[in-house]
């Protein structure tokens, strides 16, 4: 089994959001995916790829380029536009011993195959045992009037289900390491990429390496609040925090990386310290993954919270196509900055709540 030999990269601690290669190799998020796909196929002849466009000149924004030439059309399978069946085929191939990777150009199309994902894939292993290694790669788009059916961000539909893992990498480093780990994992993984991250550049080791599934990354450390974000929303956080120098505010910035399972330990540890939590959803706020983060913190960090938990994200409406509508639909770094200031200034009352301060950090973390 080649997959048990992969180890986490030592050099890249992945603390910084932008390239921290320190002389290391820099490549784009898209290139990192392409390399990960290639290495996965090279590592293990059981890895196959299925999807619309995986073997056509567009090559899913270049991320599958060259693969069919290198590994043959038996392993790089151009498919009909039949997401439901192809998802079932992916499950079946996995049961039979392959490690299939199914690719969708938009996560909006996952809805066509929801029955196979939630009624079948998510339950198969719990029902029947064995391993069900499979990855469903899919892309969140945004902008240029993508609109109602081509810019949604559906991670929330797949979070909260024990039988699925869901990752949303935000950096070139993570996208490669998480992808290889998703392929290595013995169960199903939904892999959400973001189209607007494709040209982001950063440090990416050449050798195959893994980033742990279900572990968040601390992108920066601070004292005043904890900001939790996922996928592209991290870029807004980066801008907002960079802009906060004057205010003298610093934040623990946590990139979730995985939304299922959630790395609550990392979040809790930070909230114990900062007492304030802001969650930035890449998607609608209402019933988003952030709701679960907030609900758990409201239960488990109760004694440490010094202010209400805030969430930022999209409205729950249909995503508009018109450019001005689109502009005002998405919250930006400025909204984030305002929320951060509001949260930090508001209700700073550690003294007023003696009981909370009493309970020592150690006793809760132990």
């Amino acid at each position: 089994m080649p997959w048990t030999k992969l180890v986490a990269d030592k050099a890249g601690r992945s603390v910084s959001f932008v390239s921290d290669g320190a002389g290391g190799r820099i490549m784009s998020y898209a290139e990192a995916i392409a390399e990960a796909m290639d290495q996965a196929m090279q590592l293990d002849p059981n890895v196959i790829i299925l999807g619309q466009g995986v073997d056509r000149p567009g090559f899913v924004y270049g991320t599958t380029a060259g693969l069919s030439r290198r590994y043959g059309r038996d392993r790089v399978i151009e498919t009909p536009i039949a997401e439901a069946a192809m998802t079932g085929v992916t499950l079946g191939a996995s049961l039979a011993g392959l490690r299939p990777i199914l690719v969708h150009m938009r996560n909006d199309f996952l809805l066509v195959s929801m029955d196979q994902i939630l009624n079948h894939i998510a339950h198969w292993r719990r029902l029947f045992g064995g391993s069900v290694p499979l990855v469903i790669r899919t892309i969140i788009a945004r902008g240029w009037g993508s609109g109602a059916q081509h810019a949604q961000s559906f991670q929330r539909l797949f979070a909260g289900i024990d039988g699925l893992k869901v990752v949303m990498p935000a950096t070139p480093y993570d996208v490669k390491g998480l992808f290889l780990n998703a392929v290595a994992w013995s169960g199903p993984v939904l892999f959400f990429e973001h189209r607007w991250l494709y040209s982001d550049k950063g440090y990416v080791p050449e050798k195959p390496y893994i980033v742990p599934l279900g572990k968040a990354a601390i992108r920066s450390e601070g004292k005043d609040l904890t900001v939790v974000a996922m996928s592209f929303a991290n870029r807004d956080v980066a801008s907002a925090l960079a802009d906060l120098g004057d205010e003298g505010i610093t934040a623990d910035w946590i990139d979730l990386r995985s939304v299922n399972p959630l790395d609550m330990d990392t979040i809790y540890r930070s909230v114990y310290k900062t007492g304030r939590l802001l969650i930035v959803e890449n998607g609608p706020v209402n019933c988003g993954v952030g709701a679960e983060v907030a609900a758990r913190a409201a239960e488990d960090c109760w004694d440490y919270l010094r202010a209400p938990i805030l969430r930022i994200g999209w409205p729950g409406t249909t995503i508009p196509a018109g450019c001005k509508l689109e502009e005002s639909f998405y919250p930006g770094p400025d909204d984030l900055r305002k929320a951060i200031i509001k949260l930090v200034k508001q209700n700073d009352s550690r003294e007023a709540y003696p009981r909370r301060a009493q309970i020592s950090l150690a006793s809760r973390q132990g």
Binding site: E78, I81, E83, G147, A148, Q149, A321, G322, L325, S328
Partner: protein, 312 residues
Amino acid sequence: MEIEKAYELYSMMTEIRLVEEAIAREYPAQEIRTPVHLYTGQEAIAAGVSIHLSDEDYVVSNHRSHGHCLAKGMDLEAFFKELYGRQGGVSGGWGGSMHLCDMSRGIAGTSAIVAGGVPIGAGIALKQKISGDRGITVVYFGDGAVDEGVFWETLNFAALKKLPVLFVMEDNKFASQTPSEDRQAYEDITPIVSAYGVPVFKLDGNDPLTVAEVSGRAIEGIRKGRGPAFLCCKTYRWLAHVGPSDDTNTGYRTREEVTYWQNRCPLARMGQYLEVADPENSALRVEAIKLRWAAAVARAIEQAKEAPYAVD
């Protein structure tokens, strides 16, 4: 074909062609900020079908909907306002190119999910059937849509309930960059569809007269209560799957193939027909039609650009 009908056909196709050409021209200015799937080269289908439709008939369409909507009477100015994201757009600026609608003209909406609109059209037809309306519903979709199971579910239901639907498949050989033979086990869909008991018409989708004649027959049957019919129209898209440019050099199709189909231009063919059928007037009338639409398109674009942006 009656000569005035023939001019109408020519006019419809001219409108569509000029609209798509104008979009292609304007697109680089980055004011039309919405993905466009241009209909250039396929005009005969929407025009040939729509010539038989009135406001009590509905159409439901897909991502490549400009031609379907314009042929069904969508207001040009409201159309362009939608593309430019302006107030007064057919969907209030909310939809963009992929989501056009005007119920008052029987344009029931368009879905950008492949095959997503197909069952919706059958639902409209169910209403028409139940209330004994004279109207019918036309569902447009590509050769890609028949890959999706929901197409077959809908075909079965429509045939079972004898719904007044005309299924119009625009077989332009590709779904995005993938040719049918890489997606479909069958070479010919028509025997499959006819085994559902649905009358099938396979035709040259680049010949407006054929489309008009055959769809006329199909629609007549539907209006008589005979249930759905299916047109399989062979055609070709001249430009890229999405966007205003020619993507032939990416390698998924040959220059020869594109040229072959451009030489089978439906508009040119209709022009030739008019030349023969109405040698006296055609030159003048054809020119007048072109000028009229060129002006209308230019005016609509101008008005769209001047309109205030749609805001929340």
